[in-house]
């Protein structure tokens, strides 16, 4: 595992893996959404709006997955000081925030015809909104660490670890509080969803996950390239100082 923390080795792998993850992810997601749009029957209770779940559910999982990635990478950065761990954490923030926002908006769109309201302040919705604000805070902190030139991302890493407390709260919110939001339909090894909905949902989840991974790789490559360019320009400027 330590071998992959070498930036040069990472770049060798990421160069071919990034476009593959993105292209396969886009094709698979597009096919899954077309399947969900055209070939899935309407649900007995939700009607046609059941199709929204093929966007909403993967987005919710990846929103939580993004912060889990930040927390694990931050832990590795703080404990083992892997050079790539902090970069991976920073790279996961944008796709995590985007998927959390997509989850909130599509959930709201689903709620209007199904629940009769765009929004309720229940445990699941509120904790997802808190997650979005946590992402904004993390992005602001890690950007500030990069801009001040110190490269000190410890504060952002600690914030990433502390913010992880929200992930089990989101997961258990439908159990702990009375909520409009239904309990989990899919748990470890168990599913209450009919196969007609489960397969396109699985395909969409794999597709969106590949896109998520491809975006993280692209962002890691961008951060690495910027860091290397800045270091070179600094060295050049220092060598040109007279005396």
């Amino acid at each position: 595992m330590h071998g992959f923390a070498n930036p040069a080795r990472f770049l060798r792998i990421a160069r071919w893996l990034t476009p593959i993850a993105l292209v396969v992810g886009v094709l698979l997601t597009g096919s899954a959404l077309a399947w969900g749009w055209s070939a899935v029957p309407p649900d007995r209770l939700m009607g046609e709006t059941v199709r929204i779940l093929f966007v909403h559910v993967p987005a919710a999982w990846l929103g939580m997955g993004g912060w889990t990635t930040i927390a694990i990478a931050s832990f590795v950065e703080l404990v083992w000081r892997h050079p790539l761990a902090g970069i991976a954490a920073r790279a996961a923030a944008l796709p995590g925030a985007v998927f959390t926002a997509i989850c909130l908006v599509t959930g709201s769109i689903w709620g209007r015809p199904t629940w009769g309201t765009w929004w309720v302040w229940d445990g699941r919705l509120t904790s997802m909104l808190v997650l979005l604000f946590l992402y904004f805070g993390y992005i602001a902190l890690s950007d500030a660490a990069r801009r001040d030139g110190s490269g000190n991302s410890r504060v952002a890493a600690i914030f990433g670890l502390v913010g992880a407390i929200n992930i089990p709260i989101i997961n258990r919110s439908v159990v702990w509080w009375n909520s409009l939001h239904q309990p989990a339909s899919i748990t470890m090894g168990n599913s209450a969803i009919d196969a007609a909905y489960l397969w396109p949902l699985l395909a969409a989840t794999i597709g969106f996950s590949l896109i998520f991974s491809g975006v993280i790789l692209a962002r890691m490559r961008a951060i690495l390239a910027d860091t290397q360019a800045d270091a070179r320009l600094r060295r050049k400027a220092m060598s040109q100082v007279p005396g």
């Binding site: 886009v26 987005a59 985007v98 997509i102 908006v105 689903w110 961008a222 390239a225 360019a229 070179r232």
Partner: protein, 46 residues
């Protein structure tokens, strides 16, 4: 009693937001990666 809403309009709106958000994120990440790697290559040549 269910409200008389066109459910397909809600499905279309959710798909549009999901697809547009994802495609914008992919394009922005890809372009900023290419820009950063070009900048690094230029700094090597200078």
């Amino acid at each position: 009693m269910r409200e008389a809403l066109d459910q397909w309009a809600f499905v279309a709106a959710a798909y549009a937001i999901g697809i547009a958000g994802t495609l914008i994120m992919i394009s922005w990440s890809w372009l900023s990666m290419r820009r950063a790697e070009k900048r690094r290559d230029r700094s090597r040549e200078q």
